[in-house]
């Protein structure tokens, strides 16, 4: 699929596996409610780490804490290839859902323009931004979406557009918060394939909040099972075959996509 496309920002194709993001003792509390307690994680580049857990486990909260949007205790460090601490990594983020009004006249190009430049969307058209947008959309097989209204995209298309947006500029760390529902199976598989390719070709660390254990088992390098604290970390085989998993959550916790509204908030 995307191997046939001209690589855009390729990192010489080598996965160094040396640079890593370290999360140390991260905790989040809202009022008296503890959402996350003492999270410690090392995330290596070129790795796809899937974050799974029941509703309300704090998966989205962890991503937002990493973005710096939510107050948290503990630290996040990013080290580049030579082990030099570079402070905060450049983060690309794909939110779980967008809050815009479906009938708003915002085109995909408008969204990119407002992210990438200060030049007012309502006054000028810029060729440079248009090219950048086209290139990025190509990575996610979405070139044809550039002039569409955001409200007219399907769930899968919107997710891919948001992924493309997260790729300019090319991030060190990609945080993906997958919607619970609204994306058909074919769209989901396409999305996972693209993310997998990205991780390999661009040497990125990817953290993916996921609700589809089958796809996770197939694509992830590592699974983190989260429920306020980290319950288990390991390869898909290790985590998903763990007997404790079904003891703690039962077998049904991820199979209720219609509970969309209750998720995470």
């Amino acid at each position: 699929m995307m191997h046939s496309n001209e690589p855009l920002f390729q990192n010489n194709g080598n996965t160094c596996g040396l640079c890593c993001t370290k999360i140390k003792n991260l905790s989040v509390t809202y009022g008296n409610t503890e959402i996350l307690n003492d999270i410690n994680l090392h995330i290596h580049c070129g790795e796809l780490t899937a974050l799974i857990g029941p509703n309300g486990a704090g998966k989205s909260t962890l991503l937002k804490a990493m973005l710096g949007e939510i107050k948290h205790s503990g630290k996040m460090e990013f080290q580049d290839m030579k082990g030099i601490n570079t402070g905060h990594p450049l983060i690309g983020y794909v939110p779980q859902h967008l809050d815009f009004d479906k009938s708003s006249p915002i085109s995909v190009l408008d969204l990119f323009t407002s992210c990438l430049t200060n030049s007012p969307v309502w006054l000028f058209k810029q060729k440079r931004i248009r090219r950048q947008t086209e290139n990025s959309l190509k990575i996610v097989q979405g070139e044809h979406l550039i002039n569409k209204r955001l409200g007219n995209l399907s769930g899968g298309e919107l997710q891919r557009v948001m992924l493309a947006l997260a790729l300019v500029p090319l991030p060190d760390l990609l945080l993906l918060d997958e919607p619970v529902s609204g994306i058909d199976q074919k769209g989901l598989e396409l999305f996972y394939d693209i993310v997998c390719d990205l991780r390999k070709n661009y040497d990125m660390s990817v953290i993916l909040v996921s609700h589809d254990l089958n796809l996770v088992a197939k694509h992830a390098d590592r699974i983190v099972l989260l429920n306020k604290t980290i319950q288990a970390v390991g390869t898909p085989q290790e985590v998903l075959n763990n007997e404790d998993l079904s003891k703690v959550f039962g077998n049904i916790w991820f199979k209720y996509p219609e509970n969309k509204k209750e998720e995470e908030e």
Partner: protein, 278 residues
């Protein structure tokens, strides 16, 4: 001003424009309607129609406070009060304790009630009823200068914050990950809405101001597919309705701003029918 009067006499030698107040009013319409068209786009995108309505209603309390403090021109009391009320609503809303509709309702109706109570204390409420409907024909050259500054301020602010505002309206976390200070952007937007609404109230009227903000944008989004078209159409509808409304109201002897609103509604209905056809 003389240049303006000269231009009108030269190029628009219509009978209705011979009057000084009509010349002033026409200029006022040309200055004010683009502001409404521009601000309306994001008010509608962010579903803030009720919010701007609340700001308009709070002006009543501003007048009342001005009266208590003995300020002759209540305009500054109105502006300050509206800005503060806007910020208060925003702060409570961001604390996420209640749905924003409820929060706005609580603030707006409390403010209106307070204003009415104070103004009606000595039975003199009728004095202030001009603020309810407004009088565009009473506009003076000093007011026009203020409108010009307001238009400039809005356009300059829009150049700087629209991209960020758009991003915040799509998703706050995404905006944050792009280094946008969502809170600052929201407060600036609230600030400009409060100022524009409050200053325009004396000419447009408290009851109608909000429809001038919402209707042109609502009509524009029936047709527009991107943000540039959205702005262009919104301003266009706003200006055309303004001019037509002014002229019609002169011949029909009706309230100017209400006539303008009706023409905006006409645009909305037409664009809506056009949209349903395709």
């Amino acid at each position: 001003m003389d240049v303006w009067y000269f231009l009108i006499d030269k190029f628009l030698p219509f009978e209705c424009l011979q009057h000084m107040f009509m010349k002033n009013a026409l200029l006022a319409v040309l200055l004010a309607t683009p502001i409404f068209g521009i601000l309306g786009t994001m008010i509608v995108n962010n579903k803030m129609a009720f919010f701007s309505d609340a700001i308009g209603h709070s002006a009543l309390t501003g007048i009342a406070i001005g009266v208590i403090l003995g300020i002759g021109d209540p305009l500054w009391a109105m502006v300050i009060f509206s800005v503060l009320l806007g910020f208060a609503i925003l702060t409570v809303k961001n604390a996420n304790t209640a749905s924003s509709d409820t929060v706005i309702g609580v603030f707006a109706f409390s403010a209106v009630a307070l204003g009415v109570v104070i103004l009606s204390r000595a039975g003199g409420f009728a004095k202030y009823s001009t603020y309810l409907i407004g009088d565009l024909l009473s506009i003076t050259p000093e007011n026009l200068l203020m409108l010009t500054l307001l238009l400039l301020f809005t356009v300059i602010l829009w150049i700087f914050i629209l991209n960020k505002l758009l991003l915040v309206s799509i998703n706050r976390s995404l905006a944050k990950s792009r280094g946008v200070n969502a809170i600052l952007v929201e407060y600036l937007f609230t600030f400009v809405i409060a100022i524009v609404v409050t200053i325009s109230i004396q000419w447009v009227g408290l009851l109608i101001i909000n429809s001038l903000l919402v209707l042109p944008a609502a009509a524009a989004r029936n047709l527009a597919v991107n943000t540039r078209q959205y702005h262009a159409l919104s301003v266009l509808f706003s200006v055309i309705s303004g001019i037509l409304g002014l002229i019609l109201s002169y011949f029909l002897g009706t309230a100017t701003s209400a006539t303008i609103v009706l023409i905006c509604s006409g645009f909305f209905i037409l664009t809506f029918m056009f949209k349903s056809k395709i």
